[in-house]
Each structure stands twice: as structure tokens, then as C-alpha cells.
């Protein structure tokens, strides 16, 4: 905790300075609030509009978490399949990269046409942006397992399953967590984009409504909410990493 404070005060003060400059600039230049509201207005709106906003926030959190969980599951499953079946890896891996080149903004409306306004197209969007970093990170982790470990395990008679569960999977965990961190932040983004397409609630809906009625302060409330949410997800993954990979943190403590 002390560590967080010690490392965190510098970026925090930079942010604070930025906000002060923003506030002053907007006031001095008399920029109208619908163009760019001062930070104090945004904070005020966040507090006074909390009751109405909470409902949207909740919906986005649920959607992101669900999408992230599914994306992680599919990402891991893909990685394991591709790793254990080299033949499939060679034929499918390039296509996986292509799947990331399809612009989500274009794909999303199509998904609505195909699957309607329900939960399914939204989950597909989030899964599409989430699974790829996890698959790539896990595959890299599996593949980078040092040969000396593999050689020992094989000489000692490890089966293919034992090799995977006792060596490759634990070895890939640090790498896997790098992928999870990226996906966790992407999942919030994915959720908001998918809500733009049409939903009853969510930050994406709130944002569209706000910007079409020139409530710029509300747009900023939404932006900050998304940033905070991403940060929180990231922190959650960081915490899980600390708990699961104890040996790593002790290793760096020694060095």
C-alpha cells in the first residue's frame, strides 16, 4: 500500500496539474460548457447525476465481466488446442491474426443484423477483442518453456499431459497474465462499443444520449467512468497475478 503511494504520487500530481490547467484555460477563454466543460462541472454532474448513471454503469460492468470471462475461456481453449495440435496451429494461426484485422466498428452492426439486439452480439464483440491477446500470450508462454526443463521431464518419463500441466502451463502463467491485463482493459472498451449498437442500458447508451443532446459534461463523465473501470479491472488482474505467482514476486524481491 505504501508502495502504491510512493510510486503513485508522481502521475497523480501530473493529472492534478492537467486538470487545473484545463479548468483555468476554459474559464479564461470563456469556452461554452457544451463545447468543453471545466472539470468542476464534470465532477458536479457525476455527483448529481449518480442515481441515473449508476444503472448504466452496473449494466456495463456486468457485460464487461461476462464478456471478459467468456473471452478468457475461449482464448485459453484456443491456445491449448493450438499448442497441443501443431497441425491445427499451422492452419489456423494466420486466420486468427486476420480475425483481428476486421474493424469491430464495421462488424458490430452486422452482428446486430444477424443476432438481434440481445446479449449475444454484444458478447461476440467483447470476446472478439478479448480472446486474441490471451491466446497469443499463452501460446508464447507454452512455446518458450526452456528445453532443459522439457528434457528433464521427458527423461523422467512425463506423459504429454503431465508435461503440459506440470511444466508448460505453470511456466506460461506470467506471460498469460500479460495477456489478461490487456484483455481486461479491452473488455470495457468492447462492452461500450457493443452498447452503442443498441442496448437498453450501459455507459455506451448513456454516452450516445449525452452527445446527441450536447451534454458534453455527461460525455466526460462517461469517459472517466470507462477509464476508471479499465483501471480497476487491470488492478484486479494484477492482484490475482500477485496471489497466483508468488514465486515470481519473491524472485524479484531477492534481485
Amino acid at each position: 500500500m505504501i508502495n502504491v503511494l510512493r510510486k503513485g504520487w508522481r502521475p497523480a500530481s501530473v493529472l492534478l496539474l492537467l486538470f487545473i490547467a484545463w479548468e483555468l484555460a476554459v474559464n479564461l477563454a470563456e469556452v461554452p460548457a457544451w463545447l468543453l466543460p471545466p472539470p468542476t462541472d464534470i465532477v458536479q454532474e457525476a455527483i448529481s447525476g449518480w442515481e441515473g448513471f449508476r444503472f448504466h454503469l452496473q449494466s456495463t460492468v456486468m457485460l464487461s465481466l461476462l464478456g471478459f470471462a467468456i473471452g478468457t475461456g475461449i482464448g485459453l481453449l484456443t491456445a491449448v488446442t493450438l499448442h497441443l495440435l501443431p497441425f491445427i496451429r499451422e492452419s489456423v494461426y494466420p486466420i486468427l491474426i486476420l480475425s483481428q484485422n476486421v474493424p469491430i466498428i464495421v462488424l458490430a452492426p452486422l452482428l446486430v443484423v444477424w443476432f438481434g439486439f440481445g446479449l449475444l452480439p454484444k458478447l461476440i464483440v467483447i470476446t472478439l477483442v478479448c480472446f486474441f491477446p490471451i491466446t497469443v500470450a499463452a501460446l508464447d508462454g507454452f512455446r518458450q518453456t526452456p528445453d532443459e526443463f522439457k528434457h528433464y521431464m521427458l527423461m523422467a518419463g512425463a506423459s504429454k499431459g503431465q508435461l503440459f500441466w506440470k511444466l508448460e502451463l505453470p511456466y506460461s502463467l506470467p506471460s498469460l497474465f500479460s495477456g489478461l491485463k490487456i484483455s481486461a482493459t479491452y473488455s470495457v472498451m468492447g462492452a461500450v462499443i457493443s452498447e452503442w449498437l443498441g442496448a437498453k442500458a450501459g455507459i455506451g447508451v448513456y454516452m450516445t444520449l449525452a452527445s446527441s443532446s450536447f451534454r458534453t459534461d455527461r460525455v466526460f463523465v462517461a469517459i472517466f467512468a470507462i477509464m476508471l473501470l479499465s483501471l480497476l479491472f487491470f488492478g484486479g488482474i494484477l492482484l490475482a497475478e500477485r496471489l497466483l505467482i508468488k514465486w515470481k514476486s519473491r524472485e524479484s524481491a531477492v534481485k
Partner: protein
């Protein structure tokens, strides 16, 4: 009684013949060293016995059973300790047993205690010194259920002092448990000090050119290194290695 018998092994990689009609055996409870110039195919021999490779000709027989290409028939200690960094020392030394079935942490704890690693039972490998890691790796091999241990130049990466200490420790623990050991090394002194019998290997294609029975009684003390007979022994083997 013969524990391991290697019969007429031949192995080539493409046009490169590494082993040619290699034969030797190891008796139960015997400590045998394979001594050869580097690049003489020592690791190929180990990979064959360990079942990682199949011989082109010949066979490997362990306790009366053919083990060509059967991984996990022998217990193995590699050149690097290869302790898994996310496992504590206790979990690491149990790995060999775990791969084969039941684990016995009671005995493992006792052995760690005796090896001076009792306080490190729950430590991770990176917290240990090089010598300690090698000790843990040897205990892992010793605890594995297979009837013979293959050691692949286990002390070559250690500094001189640590190596001496480790050789002494290995002798102690060997005389206590009397496991059958096949030891690969390129140090003549190490081979004489540790083994009952030394197999001298020619370089490619590898063949046993000479067998040498080490005449010294056990237990062997460090002073042996300075003994005249020891030096004579060393000279003989040195010549044998050179004149092939």
C-alpha cells in the same frame, strides 16, 4: 548381478555416425563412470538409455527388460539442476516420484534434512546457491523410483571448491543408499575419486576403448587426491584417453 546392459549400440545422425557397436554394463549397486572427450557422444548415450532416441542397432536392457525408446525407465540428473522455479524445494524433489505415481514426503524431508537443506524445504530454487540446487536435483533423482540413476556431468558448472564438497557429499550419500549410478564426466580425477569402474570412450564414433577398475577402497577420503597411486591411476587413464 547386472542392472543395466547396453548391447552393440549403433546410432547415426544422417551421415554422422556417433556410436558404433557400443557395449557395456552396470552391476547392481555399482558406481560406473563414462569418461570421454567432449563431443564423444556421451549425451547421445544418455538420450538412448533415457528413451529419448531409438538406436539404429542394438538394444538396452534394464533389469532383464528391453527399454529401447521407453522414457522414464531411468532416473536422471541433468547438467543444470532444472528445478522448476514455481515449486518449493520439497515439491521439486518429489517431482520424479510424482510423475511415476505415489509421493513420499516423509522420506523426502528426511533426506533434505540430511543434505543440509532442511531449512530450505519451503524455499524456491532461486533462493538457493548453485551447490544447494545440485544437491536438491540429486535428491530428486535419488527419490525417483527407478533402479538406476544417470548423472550427466552434474558438477561441471560449479566452482572448484563447491565441486569438491559436492563430490564428497555424493560419496557419503552413495555409500548410505548404494544406488546404481551411471555417471558421465570429462574430469579424470572426478571419475577416479567417485567410481568403482571407469569406461573410457573414444571420440566419434564412440566405443568403449578401455575399462578401468578403480583400485581404491571405500570410504575414500579427500587425501586420496594427493596419493601416489591416485596420480599413477590418473596418468594411466590420461594416456589411455590420448592414445586412441
Amino acid at each position: 548381478m547386472i542392472q543395466l546392459s547396453v548391447e552393440h549400440l549403433t546410432k547415426s545422425f544422417d551421415t554422422n555416425q556417433v556410436l558404433n557397436n557400443l557395449s557395456f554394463h552396470v552391476n547392481v549397486g555399482e558406481f560406473v563412470s563414462i569418461l570421454g572427450p567432449s563431443g564423444s557422444g556421451k549425451s547421445t548415450i544418455f538420450n538412448l538409455i533415457g528413451g529419448m532416441l531409438l538406436p539404429d542397432e542394438g538394444s538396452i536392457i534394464l533389469g532383464g527388460e528391453k527399454i529401447d525408446g521407453k522414457r522414464g525407465s531411468i532416473s536422471y540428473m541433468p547438467q543444470t539442476p532444472s528445478l522448476l522455479p514455481w515449486r518449493t524445494i520439497l515439491q521439486n524433489v518429489l517431482l520424479g516420484q510424482e510423475l511415476k505415481g505415489e509421493t513420499d514426503s516423509q522420506t523426502a524431508r528426511k533426506m533434505l534434512q540430511k543434505a543440509g537443506l532442511g531449512d530450505y524445504e519451503n524455499a524456491y530454487p532461486h533462493e538457493l546457491s548453485g551447490g544447494m540446487k545440485q544437491r536438491a536435483a540429486f535428491i530428486r533423482a535419488l527419490l525417483s523410483p527407478q533402479p538406476i540413476i544417470l548423472l550427466d556431468e552434474p558438477f561441471s558448472a560449479l566452482d572448484e571448491l563447491t565441486r569438491l564438497e559436492m563430490q564428497k557429499w555424493l560419496l557419503d550419500i552413495w555409500s548410505e543408499h548404494k544406488p546404481t549410478i551411471l555417471f558421465v564426466t570429462h574430469s579424470i580425477e572426478e571419475a577416479i575419486y567417485l567410481s568403482d569402474r571407469i569406461l573410457i570412450l573414444s571420440s566419434k564414433p564412440a566405443k568403449v576403448t578401455q575399462e578401468y577398475n578403480v583400485p581404491f577402497n571405500r570410504p575414500r577420503m579427500e587425501e586420496l587426491f594427493l596419493d601416489e597411486n591416485f596420480l599413477a591411476c590418473k596418468r594411466n587413464i590420461h594416456h589411455a584417453l590420448k592414445n586412441q
